[in-house]
């Protein structure tokens, strides 16, 4: 492993949510939202995380920042074990790790102006005096391409793309090293989406940022990422550098997922792998390989033994019994 360059190291991360039932609200089961996931993020890179709805992408992102307490596992950031930090120490640590959310409307306080929203993290972390903060906020507005004369406007007075810029400016305010962006362009129209993607790339270069970029759109993830991890039902099934993953996917799920994406080219002839059935529920995931109920290559062993997530050369990680042979 490239231990020396990695900024973030996630090992055996689990997040189980209790399912409560009955009159006494006793625990009657659990949702294995994230079920033993390991990966690292190198300094200055963008790690993309893709997968279908409910596979645990957001929970993984939130557990890294401890917005969701991990059930078990380790999250090491620049050598600090985040899961062991006390509340106050974690709060201070959040200066280094920020999050950008999918729904720019829901994540911005409707009663605060753009100025107040962006200034807030600076206040929380006690950065600068009022006048210095003002200067910084104005600079941030410019950096993300917003009109400084609009600083006094409220979120509803901005368009979706502009609101996402406010969310990005807020995350940038404390000069973090790592930004976890959870579906930052999913709610945006195509023509606005490319504006925000370009902005994220520019900011990465300017401020030497590292991104964990979560999305379900495989084309967007290919565009922005250096390495990509694919999740299915709480597990990471494949992780590799971008081009190997997209050009030579090894896991049957990744292969099906990529083949299912409609491409905007009427002449493209691609073989489509149509998976039958629905994604099983994470409260009762299939035994063995979680994908075995839909996998076109399923073997006996897949139904019994969970395949190990292993490096099959050049840091191309896969969890599948087909490759073990």
């Amino acid at each position: 492993m490239t231990q020396s360059q990695s900024l973030l190291e996630v090992r055996n991360l689990k997040k189980y949510f209790p399912i409560r039932g009955g009159v006494f609200g006793r625990k009657v089961g659990e949702v294995k939202a994230v079920d033993d996931v390991s990966f690292s993020v190198n300094k200055g890179e963008t790690l993309g995380i893709v997968g279908e709805s409910g596979c645990g992408k957001s929970t993984t992102g939130r557990a890294i920042l401890r917005l969701e307490e991990p059930t078990s596992g380790n999250v090491e950031f620049e050598g600090n074990e985040l899961t062991r930090l006390k509340k106050e120490a974690m709060r201070r640590m959040r200066r280094e790790l920020q999050m950008v959310f999918q729904d720019p409307f829901a994540s911005l306080n409707p009663r605060k102006t753009a100025f107040e929203i962006i200034e807030e993290p600076l206040k929380v972390h006690g950065i600068g005096h009022a006048s210095e903060r003002k200067e910084q906020v104005m600079e941030l507005l410019q950096v993300v391409g917003l009109d400084v004369s609009h600083a006094g406007r409220y979120p509803h007075q901005f368009s979706g793309g502009q609101r996402q810029r406010i969310g990005i400016a807020r995350a940038l305010a404390v000069r973090p090293k790592l930004i976890v962006a959870d579906e930052p362009v999913s709610a945006l129209d195509v023509s606005i989406q490319s504006q925000v993607l370009n902005l994220l790339e520019d900011l990465q270069h300017t401020f030497d940022l590292t991104y964990v970029f979560i999305a379900h759109d495989l084309s967007v993830v290919r565009h922005i990422s250096d390495r990509v991890g694919v999740m299915y039902l709480g597990r990471m099934v494949e992780l590799a550098n971008r081009d190997s993953l997209y050009d030579q996917p090894l896991h049957p799920y990744t292969q099906a997922l990529l083949s299912a994406v409609p491409v905007p080219d009427p002449d493209s002839v691609r073989e489509r792998i149509i998976l039958s059935g629905d994604v099983p529920t994470p409260s009762n995931p299939p035994k063995g390989c979680a994908f075995h109920t839909r996998c076109p290559h399923v073997m006996d062993i897949c139904q019994e033994v969970r395949p190990e997530f292993k490096d099959y050369g050049e840091e191309h990680y896969v969890a599948c019994h087909l490759l073990e042979k």
């Binding site: 279908e52 502009q162 023509s191 490319s194 379900h216 299912a260 409609p262 905007p264 080219d265 489509r272």
Partner: protein, 336 residues
């Protein structure tokens, strides 16, 4: 060519609200022929849903008001039909499926009851016969599990609900199926199942489809022809190959260049500057002019017509007009 199945011509639907007039659909020309799959694309708020709801007679009036044009189904104008006449057309001649199937399935009735009701509304058949047909309809969309007729919508996954919707929409063998973002709420592997199903139904039953989507990938895979809308107007239409290989309207060109593609690499994405206009304050002249890199003086003041470029390719842009526009600057170069 034969008379089109659906012929929308110069159609306008405005909303009169307290804050002003929203010209949601402001001059839409669109035809669908028998057995054809036509895509209607454009960004959020450009008027795709209002167009399709108008075809179904489902736009509340007021606040909506038809301000001109016509919608013809096999020659008959639908814009002034009475409610009773609509009942005969909806479900029978035209059916519609929506993005979120939960909004159109009734949560308190079983799947079976809902399909039986849809059938009996239009056809004089016994309950027993209707039930049998309901079961067959569900099998056609790939749901064959036992007891499905007795299940309630909330017991099904999103993909299955959409299948049920399609079964219900297809049960009376409509001539036209309007699908408004039928897969937008679904995961990509489930989307592939649903698109596959729709394509098969189109081929096997000959039902024409008006496919509304903002996903140009879906358009490329499903459609024979494409209509592109921007801010309430049709800006370009062409057969699917022409649209992707030789887009002529600057908006269509920009849109195609802005999407990241799975199998093509760009270091930097193109982006159309600015934002979609506020529907209450539409720009003068060409509605795309404030964002268009080719805009000239005339674009800001006069509205261009939808010009015939030959071979059923139309585009609403001054650059194509040799007299008024400046034909040399026709942005024909395709960059994707």
């Amino acid at each position: 060519m034969a008379e089109p199945l659906l012929d929308i011509s110069e159609f306008r639907m405005y909303f009169h609200t307290e804050k002003g007039v929203v010209k949601a659909v402001d001059g839409v020309d669109l035809t669908v022929h028998e057995g054809e799959v036509v895509g209607l694309v454009g960004e959020s708020g450009c008027g795709k849903s209002v167009t399709s709801l108008s075809v179904m007679g489902l736009v509340p009036q007021p606040p909506g008001k038809v301000e001109g044009g016509s919608i013809r189904l096999t020659g008959k104008d639908l814009t002034h039909l009475r409610q009773r006449e609509w009942q005969r057309i909806r479900g029978n001649d035209i059916s519609m499926i929506f993005q979120e199937p939960m909004t159109s399935l009734n949560p308190v009735f079983t799947i079976g009851d809902q399909i039986v009701e849809a059938l009996q509304k239009h056809q004089k058949i016994s309950k027993k016969e209707a039930k049998k047909r309901a079961g067959e309809a569900l099998k056609e969309v790939g749901i064959s599990r036992k007891g499905i007729l007795g299940e309630y919508p909330h017991q099904l996954s999103g993909g299955m609900r959409q299948r049920v919707m399609i079964a219900m929409a297809m049960v009376c063998r409509p001539k036209l199926l309007i699908a408004d973002e039928p897969t937008t709420a679904l995961d990509v592997t489930i989307q592939a199942q649903i698109l596959d199903l729709m394509r098969r139904l189109n081929e096997e039953t000959g039902t024409a489809i008006l496919m509304i989507t903002h996903d140009l990938g879906v358009v490329a895979e499903m459609c024979d022809r494409v209509v592109v809308m921007y801010a309430g107007e049709v800006v370009e239409k062409a057969d699917v190959k022409t649209l992707f290989q030789d887009p002529r309207h600057p908006y269509t060109q920009g849109l195609l260049k802005s999407i990241p593609q799975l199998d093509k690499r760009f270091d930097r994405l193109y982006s159309i500057p600015g934002n979609v206009p506020d529907p209450r304050k539409m720009p003068e002249g060409c509605r795309f002019s404030p964002r268009c890199e080719f805009a000239k003086d005339i674009c800001m003041t006069q509205k261009p017509d939808l010009l015939d470029l030959g071979k059923s390719h139309f585009s609403r842009c001054w650059l194509h007009d040799e007299k008024k526009g400046d034909a040399d600057r026709d942005p024909i170069t395709v960059t994707t």
